[in-house]
């Protein structure tokens, strides 16, 4: 029995002749924050999309909680508790902020056709609890006062926050975050990571792509560095900071 909550083994994804992800193997453990960094175009987001079932891998195996998820549809992967927050927010813009949150709740009684018509009292009870949870999370990201506004009226940074909040709403076992602090002011960016850390103590694991290294390295317990579709360095943040190869990758050759 292996330890990783998410185990990626020799996974490849290519578009035409370009290998966006090339035989990547890595583990994300239960609990804690795991980072994924690398220059633009190194394949980080493609790796995420492959894990989520949005792209089918061209080779290799992906295990979540010891179950192979290679051939599952995105909604099935979601049901297992592997959830994602998109890099560019994909909100439901004509729905309210609160409704955006509620869509993301897992195991809803009322999203079955029969229940929605005939067992209304059954899900309305659950709905009350979900609204309470949603408002709590919105409060954390300072969006509570906008709960009933359409998501389309949010600013760029607020959209980003809602995207992350929506991921948390699913109470995932593992939440993939693609640049949660990008486009957000430094204070709030750091605050998001503090909230993420709090959630990680409550049993949610995080796998985070982030270019704001000073924030990520403060909170992550393990970091993978990706370049040209491959994992090139892995280790604790301090050891990566000390690695001269890391600077070459990120800042280019001297």
């Amino acid at each position: 029995m292996q330890e990783g909550l998410l185990r990626i083994r020799e996974v490849s994804k290519h578009f035409g002749g370009v290998y966006a992800v090339n035989k990547v193997s890595l583990d994300v453990t239960h609990g804690g924050i795991c980072g994924l960094v690398g220059p633009n175009g190194s394949g980080k987001t493609t790796l995420f999309n492959t894990v989520l079932g949005i792209h089918k891998p061209d080779g290799g195996e992906i295990y979540f909680n010891d179950q192979c998820i290679n051939n599952l549809a995105p909604h099935q992967i979601y049901d297992l508790g592997l959830v994602n927050a998109f890099q560019i927010p994909r909100l439901f813009y004509s729905l309210s902020v609160l409704d955006n949150m509620l869509v993301a709740a897992r195991e809803q009684q009322g999203d079955k056709l029969f229940n929605s018509l005939f067992l209304r009292s059954k899900w309305q009870k659950q709905e009350e609890g979900l609204i309470e949870e949603a408002l709590n999370i919105l409060e954390l990201v300072e969006l509570e006062h906008l709960a009933l506004s359409p998501a389309g009226e949010l600013s760029g940074g607020q959209r980003k926050l809602l995207e992350v909040a929506r991921g948390l709403m699913a109470k995932p076992r593992l939440l993939l975050l693609d640049e949660p602090a990008a486009g957000i002011n430094p204070v709030l960016g750091k605050k998001i990571f503090q909230k993420i850390e709090e959630f990680s103590h409550n049993g949610t694991a995080f796998f985070v792509i982030e270019h704001r290294l000073e924030i990520l390295f403060e909170f992550a317990s393990w970091v993978y560095v990706m370049n040209k579709g491959k994992i090139v360095i892995a280790g604790q943040p301090q050891s990566i900071i000390d690695d001269p190869a890391f600077y070459t990758i990120y800042l280019g050759e001297e």
């Binding site: 439901f92 729905l95 609160l98 409704d99 993301a104 999203d111 229940n115 899900w123 709905e127």
Partner: protein, 312 residues
């Protein structure tokens, strides 16, 4: 008596097309499916009713079987059709409607070009005034049922998931919504309702002929929905009423006012201009999309607000 009967006739049509509008609203307004083959399921319901009623089957059985067959046809069509992108979906179901019409036009079991007579639910022997009033009663009961069903669906987590799929299906799928299931169910329910309207239409007119099911029927329903306001059930009913009154009104007006051209010849042009107008100046329709009210939603939020205000 003439104008009164004519007005009652308009109300019957508003009821029947109101049901079709609600069904398209479910598919397009809430789930985002561009069903341009609405008439196919309207036809299925009407012809099922006609064929069964000729065999002497009681009317309520005819209606129920018509609804079930339309639902099954809708579900079967949805499997290949929903794999297509929105624009190709529109073309595919539009063609399906024409195929069905050509089948009933050329097959003997459906009466061919001449169509079939249908025995009405209410006897003709009474006056045409009472006949219309009885039909209005019957049709508006069914309209009310359909309205309640779509309204309940729209204001539930199910409706929220449908709207999410309409907004961004990739994101909705990534948030655990099985879009294939939702779309197929919306398509099936919408087809069932269109079939119901078809059955009522056939029995009211007392006959069915293939010419009643031209693609223009689909487009008329689309105009009603776009004008009234997609994703608003009151809106689409308003749209149905306005378009129907406009359509028939132009027919009455020409008897009283001498116009250089016959307005009924211009109807298609006027409809076309109307669509362009709506899409340019009021793309959301006359009534805006209704908010999702799961009943508890607002009250919970308000309660929390008031607690907070007390606290601070």
């Amino acid at each position: 008596m003439g104008p009164l009967l004519y007005s009652l006739d308009i109300i019957v049509y508003i009821g029947i097309f109101g049901i079709v509008c609600l069904s398209l609203n479910l598919e397009y307004g809430f789930a985002g499916l561009a069903n341009f083959g609405k008439v196919a399921f309207f036809l299925t319901g009407a012809y099922t009713y006609a064929i069964l009623s000729q065999l002497g089957v009681p009317f309520y059985v005819c209606i129920i079987v018509g609804v079930l067959i339309s639902a099954i046809v809708g579900l079967l069509v949805s499997f290949p059709a929903l794999r297509l992108r929105a624009d190709y979906l529109a073309i595919a179901v539009l063609a399906f409607g024409e195929i069905l019409r050509l089948i009933v036009k050329s097959e003997d079991f459906a009466g061919g070009d001449w169509g079939m007579t249908v025995s009405p639910i209410f006897p003709y022997t009474t006056s045409s005034l009472i006949y219309r009033l009885e039909n209005i009663g019957l049709i508006f009961i069914f309209l009310a049922i359909c309205f309640i069903v779509v309204q309940l669906l729209a204001n539930s987590p199910y409706g929220r998931a449908m709207r999410a799929i309409r907004e961004d299906e990739v994101a909705a799928e990534a948030l655990g919504k099985d879009r294939a299931r939702f779309k197929a169910q919306a398509f099936m329910l919408g087809s069932a309702m269109a079939g119901l309207a078809g059955g009522l239409y056939a029995q009211y007119l007392g006959y069915v002929v293939p010419g009643m099911f031209m693609p223009m029927v689909t487009f008329t329903v689309w105009i009603m929905v776009l004008l009234g306001g997609p994703a608003n059930n009151w809106g689409v009913l308003l749209g149905a009423a306005l378009v129907e009154i406009f359509d028939r009104g132009t027919n009455i007006v020409k008897d009283y006012i001498a116009l250089p051209v016959d307005p009924s010849d211009l109807q298609y042009i006027l409809f076309g201009a109307l669509i362009i107008f709506i899409l340019l100046y009021r793309p959301q329709g006359l009534l805006k999309e209704s908010m999702i009210r799961t009943k508890t939603l607002r009250s919970a939020h308000d309660a929390r607000r008031s607690i907070k205000n007390k606290g601070s």
